[in-house]
Structures are given as C-alpha cells and as structure tokens.
C-alpha cells in the first residue's frame, strides 16, 4: 500500500476519535500588549494565500507559553523587551508600533532580526515561540505536514523518489 492510501486510512481512523480543541486563554500576568504582539506575529508569519500569525492566534500562544512555561529569566526578557521594543519604535518613528504602516513595522522587525541589538533576546524568544506555535498549529499539522496519530506502519527502507 502506498503512502497516500496509508494516510487516508489513518485519517479515517483518526476521524472517529475524541476531539478537544485548543482554546487560547491568558492569565494576563504579563502585559499582553496584544495589539503589538499580534502585529509582530503577523509580520513573522504573514497572511498569504494561507493564514498568518494573527489569524492563527499565535500571539495568544506566545503569551501563554511565556507565562506558563517560561522561566524567570525568559519572563523578564519578555516583559522588558516588549517595553523597550515599543519605546524604541516610538523614538525612531514618532508613532506607536500599532499605528504604523506595515512597511515601517516590517523594516523595524527586519532590522532587529538581522542586526545585533539589545532586543535580540526578546525577538528570538518571540520568533521561536511564533514558529513553534505555527508548526504545532492544527492548520499546519493538518494541511501542511499532516500529523498522523495512527501511522499503522513502519517502513524501515523507505525509498525516496
């Protein structure tokens, strides 16, 4: 049986299984300047023909992970970084990040992504969690790289075409 047939069989099996959707929720212990964060995740993973960071709710995921799973140092990096991020943008562009054009926002983020600065730890934390949230989202694990709950096979010599 080929891979596709196996996949289809897996999906049929998985279709009958209980489903508990992931509901994003925040404890709000961290300053969730969600306008800023939702813009950031959207620029990291933009909407194209397919959903982007904002539509996938990755800003909720980032906050949840920092709040619940981040250690003390990471929480501090997040809190301080978000403040510094906003004030630096304000200083350079004379307006709030959320009110700026997508071009200006993108330029600013590209700069942080590509150059050494104090904001690197904050941005790599947010970027890392955005990527994790994206590649572990229901959308990605269904449409892009389908996750198989029940593979029902092990081919030890899988020839790559």
């Amino acid at each position: 049986m080929n891979r596709k047939a196996f996949l289809e069989r897996g999906i049929i099996l998985a279709g009958g299984l209980a489903f508990l959707p992931y509901l994003p929720g925040c404890k709000n212990t961290l300053d969730n300047t969600s306008g800023v964060l939702s813009d950031i995740v959207e620029i990291i993973i933009p909407q194209t023909q397919t959903p982007g960071g904002k539509a996938l709710g990755l800003h909720h995921f980032v906050v949840k992970m920092v709040e619940d799973c981040g250690d003390d140092a990471q929480q501090q990096i997040y809190k301080d970084g978000l403040k510094e991020f906003s004030s630096l943008f304000q200083k350079q562009n004379k307006k709030d990040f959320s009110e700026a054009s997508m071009e200006d926002q993108t330029l600013f983020l590209e700069e942080i992504n590509n150059k050494e600065s104090n904001l690197n730890p904050f941005f790599s934390l947010v970027k890392g969690l955005t990527i994790k949230g994206y590649t572990n989202s229901k959308y990605y694990m269904t449409d892009i790289v389908p996750y198989e709950l029940v593979p029902a096979r092990y081919n030890a010599f899988y020839k790559i075409a």
Partner: protein
Amino acid sequence: MFINNNSDNKDNHFDAIVIGSGISGGWAAKELAEKGMKTLVVERGRDVKHIVDYPTTNMTPYEFEHRLDIPYAIKKENPIISRCYAFREDAMHFFVKDKEHPYVQEKPFDWIRGYQVGGKSLMWARQTQRWSDFDFEGPARDGFAVDWPIRYKDIAPWYSYVEKFVGISGNRDNIPQLPDGEFLPAYPLNTVEEYFKSKLGENYKNRTVISARCAHLSEPQPIHLEQGRGKCLNRTLCQRGCPFGGYFSSNSSTLPWAAKTGNLTMITDSIAKSILIDKQTGKAKGVRIINAKTMETREYYAKIIFVNASTINSIALLLNSKSQRHENGIGNENDLVGKFLAFHNYSARISAQFEGSLDYSTDGRNPASGGYIPRFRNVEKQETNFLRGYAAGFSAQRYTHSNQDEIGVGLKESLDNPKLGIWSVGSHMMGETIPKASNWAKLDEKMKDQFGMPQIRISVDYDDNDRKMKADYLDQLSEMFEKAGFVNIKRNESDQAPGLDIHEMGGARMGKDPKTSVLNAFNQVHSCKNVFVTDGACMTSTSSQNPSLSYMAFTARAVDYAVKELKKGNL
C-alpha cells in the same frame, strides 16, 4: 484512627495478597488467580482502567495547551520528576510529583515513581531482553555481591512462559549473552542501522546491532486477542496508555486476565503499612493497610504474601514490618535488607551524523525505537580495567529542517516546505553496576510521610568502576562510529544522579545462604517462608539488560513454587 481488627470478617480473608499492581504485581495476580487462589491486590495509588483512564491517548500535539511542554511552575516544584524523559504534558498524570511523596536523599537519587494501578508498566520503555549465564554467573566469576542461587536453565522456561503471553517482538539472533526467546516478528533495522551493523561485522569479532526486542504486538497471536489486545499501530505514544493494547502493561493484560477468573479482588488507594506476623509460627498472616483517603487502617489476611511494591518500596515494607519474631523487619536478621541496592549507569550518550544512504529514509514509526548493541566487554573473560560491561541503544533517523533565518513570506515558505536532513545517529549507554553494601535504602529515624510512615532515606552513588566503564563506552562507541564513517561525533556525558535510569535493583537479594542473602532461589524470604519478593528488590546483580522481563519470569516461577508448597502443607 480506626483499626479494624475483626479477623472473623470473611471479607478480609484471602488465599494470597499481592502488594503492588505494576509489572511484577500484575503477573503475581494473574498466576495466583489462575491457580484458583482467592487473591487480593493492594495498590497504593488510584485506579487506572485500561482505555477508560487514558485521558490523553487520542490527543494530537496541537490539542495540548503547551504543546507537550511542562509548565515552569510544575518544573520548579518538582525538579526530580521533571528530569524524567517521559514526564511531559501528555503523561505527567502517571508520575508521582516530588512533593506528593517525599523521601530523604543522603546522596542525590532521582527516584521515578508511578503510584497507580499498573504502576510504571503504563509508561515503561518496553525493552525486553533475556539475561544469560554470563549474567547469572557474573558475581561468582568476578567476585562481587553473592552467587545467584539460580542459573539460566532454571529461568529459561519461565522466560518462554511470560514472553508468549506478553508478546515480544524480536529476531532469533543467536547471541550467547542475549538468549533468543519466543518472538513475534521483529521491527526491522533501517538503512543506516543495517549499515552500521555491517560495519561492526567488518571491524569487530563480537560487536553487532540487533533489532531491539520489545513488548509490542507486531503480529498478535490468539492468546493476545483473547486478552482484548490488538496489533501495535506504531503510534509511539505508549506512555499515555495504548487504546489498542499494542504494548504490554498490567492494565491491558495481566490484571483484566486475573479479574476474569473471578478470583481477583483489588483495592486501590491502599498503602501497605506492614506485613502482619503470627506470633506462634513467625510466618506472615496478613497485611495492614492505610486507606490513603480516609487514613483508616484495616487488616487483610492470607496464607501467602507477594511483595511487588517496586524495589525501594518493597525494601521499606520489609523494614517497616517489625514484630517480636522479626525485630529488625522481615528477612532482616542479617541486617542486609536495603543494602546492595544497585542501578544501571545511563549517564553517557553519543551522537553523530552520516552523509550516505541519502536515497533512503523511514516512513511511519518504529515502536522498538531502533537497534540494540548487546554487551561486548568482558563477556567471555575479564579484559578491561573495569568489571562487567554495558549494552547500548543505537538508532538512526532523518529529521526535517527549515531555514529559520528570515521573517515574513520567506520564513513561511521555508516552514511550509521542510527539507529532509542527512541521517542522525545516536546511542546511549546501559551499564551494569556493582551492588555494594554502601549503596542502600533504609527507613529514616525521624522524618515521617503524610501517612505517619517513616520516610525512606536513600544513599546510592557511582563508583570508580562506573566511571571507568563510562569512559570506555564513550571511547569504544566513538571508535565504532568513526570506523563506520560517521561524522560530527559528539560525546555527551551527563551528570545525572542514579535513579533516573529507573532500573533500581536489589536490597532484598536472592542467594543460597540465609546469612548473606534475604531471598532463596524461589524469591522466598529465608526466614519467613510465606513471603515472596519478586520485583526489582530481589536482584542479586544488575546485568546490562533491561530487568522487567526477568521480574515477570521470576514472579511466574515463584507463584508456581509457592502454590505447590502451599498444597504440600509447607507454608
């Protein structure tokens, strides 16, 4: 506190009591019940019913709030259990949290526990290799511990007996130090695992890689279907509990089988406080239980007691069972209970990459987790500067990668089109350790737990032999990897404490002489003939093979003996 001493109550009387429902307790229950013995199983934790109580078993990664990560607050509160590889969001409910059941660490010891019906058989790594006479003759040949009172021929038929019921996948590899068993078809080695095997064959006389032998139903037989278990469907989510019964656990196999006989009674949330001793005969007459919810104490009576509480808790129960006839605890006339506690040295790993075989990958998942390198050091004779040897895991796989440098559309495209990387290979060490009197567990004289029972104090450490063996593993595996043309070889030495291997063994060792051992050749306490200890506590030495299969075989053999002795009137 209410103490029910009503020994006339029929509800409290059984033929046999089994303390613990994990991998060995489940076997004791099955064997006793099948032989017509009215059997009570006492489990300290909560009930976990097969399938019904596996809440995460059908969840996809994105259904977990933290995508399988453990929240920081839980990690901070539970540093010990957080070090266990399987303590993740999907199975954390099956592990004991540090705070729930404290113990005293004289030296660092990561005690990994599963207090529930099925014990750790729910989350075990399912590797099942037989021991051989190279193991059972080890202490006598190399002059440590005491001679095992049995040899391979004594246990071999019992390995066969349990293997047929459990379902073990594997190949008949014809390796003297790793005897063949009753196997279901093996999970095959993949392209690079086979390649490494062929390179080992070219370069060494006695080194090889075999398909890891594991307790998975690769091809269920009628006996497995009769248990309600089906074929393993390669989910490799075993630690959550398997809805198909694809791997062996007490919950999916032995306990429901025992229940079907009509001879099984199980009580949960019931902590065995002590074994009761008959003043006249000096034999055990029952068990005193504390109800973990109500704190009430109750007594149950039986002709035979099987102690399967897990290595260190079995030691503690024997020590806590003090009476006129056994002032020092059961079996402890020689002051040996708790001593010669040993473990497996898992503190080294090695990883590398292989740039060949790029036209092949794998598809689906391998529940056996890859290959197994049987022990090759000091097998036929002593040949290194350390005693005994190590086995090793070996596996190869190709991971996918995406370039994550950019942000924006470029990043998204890269994430949406992951590329298959080259082969990654890895190995981990499984070293035999030498049991010593200086490695022990005992009852703390002051500290009590929430049930008023003495806390357990543990003092176990690595020794010079362990350190030399670890260095040798890293040297030998590096050389084996180099000779196979692997690149980017990385040695990974972990400073993990003993215990994290989850293979603690000994403390009530078997032996021929009551002066130097606690149990005889049938796991029977020398000085208390109707008490049997058949979990890890009984182990005289540790071998380098995983121990669970041996616990199961010892248990089935001991029950057979115990019931025959009972019928002869010897107990």
